[in-house]
């Protein structure tokens, strides 16, 4: 059975001229990078553009990657910076759920769910719906922590913050996500959990 190459082995292959191996790295990390980009861009087209830019940037800078850290952490740092630059450029509305306008949107959103739609949905779609209502930073921290296999220290490296700050932010983000879930599902949240 052919053993799967590690990220570092693939990187060394690319650096020694076997550039085709970069496709394996892309396939391995594309879903997470895309999801992380989606936390900032909110629509698939923009998120895909951000994610593609990230991989191209990573390819160009691959020679400078210090192989002492995890490739994923380095890649997420690029993703975070690219997504932030994208946000600044597009001037997307990143206001929180506390904003009155967002409340209106949320009410419409929940009314749509009330129309017997959410009965057919599983817990994942509710969770994804709730995470979309979070601020991009909160959503990114939760995604990296739960799905990116990143420690608090690694997330701190990605966000260029202290690990303790990330810890506090993670606590707050979870609290907000919990509130959003409870708001979206009202009584159903207990059944869902």
């Amino acid at each position: 059975m052919k053993q799967e190459l590690t990220d570092l082995e693939l990187i060394n292959d690319v650096l020694t001229g076997n550039t085709g191996q970069f496709a394996v790295l892309v396939k391995r990390h594309q879903r997470f990078v895309f999801t992380l980009a989606l936390r900032f861009a909110k629509n698939r087209e923009d998120a895909e553009e951000i994610a593609q830019d990230c991989f191209v940037k990573a390819y160009k800078a691959l020679g400078s990657f210090k192989q002492t850290a995890k490739f994923s952490t380095w890649l997420y740092t690029i993703t975070y910076t690219t997504a932030m630059t994208f946000l600044r450029k597009k001037r997307l509305d990143t206001s929180s759920i506390n904003n009155e306008e967002t409340f209106l949107q949320l009410e419409n959103h929940t009314s749509a769910y009330n129309a017997n739609v959410y009965e057919q949905q599983n817990s994942h779609s509710f969770l994804n719906g709730a995470i979309k209502l979070l601020l991009p930073d909160d959503a990114a921290i939760i995604t990296m922590f739960y799905k990116g296999e990143q420690s608090l220290e690694e997330i701190a490296e990605v966000l260029n913050m202290e690990a303790n700050t990330v810890k506090v932010k993670l606590h707050r983000a979870r609290q907000r996500l919990k509130e959003k879930l409870q708001f979206l599902l009202k009584d159903e949240v207990k059944e869902l959990l």
């Binding site: 550039t19 970069f22 895309f34 593609q52 390819y59 979870r174 959990l193």
Partner: protein, 161 residues
Amino acid sequence: MNLIEQQLWDYIDGNLTEAEQKDIELKIAANSDIKQQYEDLLSFNNTFNELEIDAPSMSFTRNIMERIELEPAPVALRTKVDTRIIFGITLFFVLPLLAIFGYVLSTTKFTMPEVSQYLTTNFNFQDYLTPATVYVFIGVDVILALIFMDYLLRKKLNAKL
């Protein structure tokens, strides 16, 4: 978020020391409210763990590979900067400097000049006391006096205010 909730999250994440873990376990066992809160948070944590990640379009990898085809192949920085080149540059500068220094040392005659001829004990103050030096001295004194007066007047003014 209250302290106990933060402690419960830390306990769930495994961020507590052994002593802190035991402490929170005792609290959970002793207090039914805390136990309920812990179970709720644990359920939320399990739900968060079920978070799904999205997938990009089917052509995602192909698009990236097409884009990077146009880019020069990346090379590890350590192979880009060969240490032999660094040593070569160092030698190029250091060797001529050492050669020049050696040449200067070998051709210099170390002799001590007679110092006493530059020293004299005859100092006539009258030679320096000219009308010009007196005017300069008085001028500097007047300027210093004006600065001092200005300082005093400002101080008084500030005290009144």
